[in-house]
Symmetry: D2
């Protein structure tokens, strides 16, 4: 059994990790760290876990008990933690923040998108888990980039559920405001654009086009619906074949022949893609669950790869469907 | 024109008052007070008012400019404000908090439920505006109490929209938690039980039965759906006649012959009641908008009465319906 | 008083018209026609109207009683109705379907978007009321077109509430499916593209660029959030001035300096626009209520203009805000 | 492996069964029958199953391939099916309709609520799976009935998600109507009252009190929140002990010490109960997922028992939580 330690255990992504890991046949939770909740029962915070665990949050767990640490703290905090903490060299790390996603001198983390870096992930000890928007958008584009077919700017519009913003209260997370509401934020400037561009360039060196991205706050809790379009010279059938070939060996990504909806994947680690050709443009729709394929599910997928398991182990999750 | 001053202008009930008063043909807003937002534009806080007002919040308005003050501060704050502020004797007061709802020595406020106290309100200078749950539940029961027909305990279950809890962030107001969720709070102990019992006793001196009240947090923003049942010896037809007679002169309360839904009244000052007889029990369903008939709409209805206007003036509001 | 007849009175847009007209100071409802509901009370179908009207639906009303007819039947039905019905020459017509929106030989209807055709509307007897998406998207672009500044293709993404699809049941209108869901339909092929392009060409003859439009089914009932971007050479300030100048005389359109949300305008006839410049592109966000500015509110605005009234009469509607 | 046949495979409960069974380690789906969808892919109807199954619906499957049949047709249809179909004697049956829930001469089905009939279920070949409301309400009351402590009428209010009403379109399942809405139906007359009373009498022969039940249509898709209160002479602590003892051996029912919410159990087979004492009354809150513990999850729990498996096998489902 893989012994798992979770750092920053009170937030949404940590809760989701715990939900997955409690049923993972090859992993056990060694500890769940939380400064603010130390001493409290885990199921008093993640209340759906009632009856499933008797774990309590620990302030300063013994890190040597873990084979792998999941870092679920806020952005910027992972770097701080790693710099200030003595982590045994044998302990693998999967970081869910954006701290190590961009390549930089001295950054030895591998970008943990299995659909682009699977072999690197298998060989790595440190993974930077991708952002939620970044995952949904990249999956919609990777086959084009891998084939060197990005020939013009991309137009991206993606609608996210509220859990993407975490549990800190804010004006835009207030139910009275957000219910039945729609709004845009950080248009053309979302922080995930960096990792998105980096991946496109990894696959297609020459890539230097604009990625016009309008992120939308949706009126739901889970799921990202991304629509992407760009110039594509081939036919719809050629596009579908390109995508099916690219994802043939990737067990969580599916190309569908019907207009998709986000509830097809909510509470699963799946991504569903759908393609249409209009004039000179290829439209790609992509649906993912921001807390699973967009965060904690993908983190477990990465863990599976790092420990030599089938990447699907523990991730055959029942969709909520409704 | 009635000159209106609003104290505590940044909250939900104040916003709703402003929305109504900007279109009220016999009233004008003299000032909107807010300590936290002094100097800010009113439509920067109540953003739906864009294009409708150029008012700014004032910290210390000149109270002599007002004919009537609406107090929209938190519970407990109205009493403090009145005790610490020199309010000209000519200025009428309508308080939306619970500070003056219960009869007590030295409390000269009239309980502002027009369907029980209309003549007193007309003659009064100080009104304690009822609570939202209290309004919906009382309207479901007043005809029975007025006829001395309450013979046993009452069973009350009422589901409220999130705006009833105001805009302060809390765990239960977070969209990620509240969306698609249902929960109960303060069962049998809600603070509105005092004013509810007080009204029943006003109409039926002998009333001394339990009011079993289970309040529910609904997954919507506006509207209270109350179901009430108690023993009733007559037929359904007799009950309907009793209710229709009682409310014949009250322009906002309607007895319907179809099972109601809360969106029939959302964004209006109306209450819709519906009656069924089952065995020995009379079931009364009552739907109201917690921010209108349950708060600011009723406050304006009270203002209309206090200033000798028809109580409907300014309150012919278009339902949102969907 | 303008005597109004409504043809096809049981649907959503008819209900909304009735809600507005019952409080309109210069109009009265002469009759509400419905074949399927003939003989039924209007408030038995539009249940929020309880207590506001005693009208019943009529199968074959006397059209001479009306000064103006609103046609609220399905698309294709208006043409049929006009061809098969003897309508007195003096009776004005406002058609809410798409039957007469596109210019064609023999089509003497004026396209009823006051922000482009106000003077024509005032002089017209027959109005083709614009589509809901078409309204929100055009308002986002008209100032650019009027200034001849459309220089490249447009990228449009718009999310609509469910009422835009009417009340006929369908898989995508089922609550269990649609709640918390997001999906796209008719991408690049929505039927409103015709009227949108027609208006752009009316203002900027040379306009011949693609309008790439991705329509989205949102998880709310009312409101359209449209985001549009295209090339623009000027600064953000210049764009704001262009828009403010264009809409200075139009009382329902506002340019705001804050990122908008759709609930700012729900249950009002307003449109709120917001501009940002990013690189070479101008982003315009536009929020409207699809049943009001996108349908019945705009229809009443057109009626006001046709009868020489101020276009705002009867349209000072209280926002639902939450 | 248990070979499972599903009859009536296109509806909500069948979809949920398939979701569970595809990941059940001891069961395999032999066939999914559907008349209306014969020949179609199962994942074309239950679209979240994309990538998980290549099954197609069959009109007339070979029933001998199955060890157990789940009947997922509408109420009334199960009886018809059994009477008109030659089902091999060895094939077990779990019926999800209400056709066999009430004891009657010639009805050899066991009522499939494991928390009351576990041993009977283990020995049975035919199970009548309980109704969704009936499950949530009974679990709130069974310990009292088993101890003979029901001494007066019960007051029950339960709010259900829309999936409880199935996928047939109706006025009250239309998103535009139901979103943000609340309504009551079949008050005091819901069809589940029969099975509820039958179970109470099974445990407490003398039970003959009213069960006053107000069912509510909630504004969510999954989950039932039931509140029940009745007279109870003991203390809150005694009640908690009574409930904990009763459910100690039942792995899906938990007594919690915090006010519960329905999303604690959505997408799981769990029931969470919570108790409070107020005056002479005991309040019990009960949350369940109507499609799982209230339907298909419980059906699989029954299958597990009938085939000698641990009742939790295949039912360690990840909560959706948000």
């Amino acid at each position: 059994m893989i012994q798992v330690g979770i750092i920053g255990g009170a937030g949404y992504t940590a809760g989701e990790l715990i939900r997955i890991l409690l049923n993972h046949p090859e992993a056990a939770i060694a500890f769940v760290q939380s400064s603010s909740n130390a001493g409290n029962l885990v199921d008093a915070v993640h209340r759906d876990l009632v009856g499933e665990t008797s774990l309590t949050f620990e302030a300063d767990p013994d890190l040597t008990k873990a084979d792998v640490l999941f870092l679920c703290m806020g952005h910027g905090k992972s770097k701080e933690f790693i710099e200030s903490t003595s982590i045994p060299a044998s302990v693998k790390i999967i970081d869910l923040s954006h701290d190590f996603r961009l390549k930089a001198e001295g950054n030895d983390f591998v970008y943990g998108l299995p659909e682009i870096n699977r072999e690197l992930i298998r060989a790595s000890k440190r993974i930077a888990n991708p952002g939620c928007f970044a995952t949904g958008i990249q999956l919609a584009v990777l086959p084009l980039a891998a084939a060197g077919l990005l020939k013009n700017e991309l137009h991206v519009h993606a609608i996210t559920g509220s859990t993407g913003a975490g549990q800190a209260p804010s004006k835009t997370s207030h139910f009275s405001w957000r219910n039945s509401n729609v709004s845009v934020y950080k248009a053309f400037q979302h922080q995930h654009l960096g990792e998105i561009r980096q991946s496109f360039q990894q696959l297609q060196n020459s890539f230097d086009f604009d990625v016009n991205f309008v992120p939308v706050r949706g009126n739901h809790t889970r799921g990202i619906f991304a629509s992407v379009y760009t110039d594509f010279e081939g036919t719809a059938e050629e596009a579908v074949k390109l995508y099916e070939d690219y994802y043939a060996s990737h067990p969580f990504v599916f190309v569908t022949s019907e207009n998709p909806d986000v509830k097809q994947v909510v509470n699963t680690n799946k991504a569903v893609l759908y393609l249409e050709k209009h004039g000179s443009k290829l439209l790609i729709l992509s649906v993912t669950d921001n807390l699973l394929k967009g965060a904690s599910g993908q983190a477990v997928q990465n863990m599976n790869l790092m420990f030599g398991l089938n990447e699907k182990v523990g991730l055959n999750l029942k969709a909520v469907a409704f």
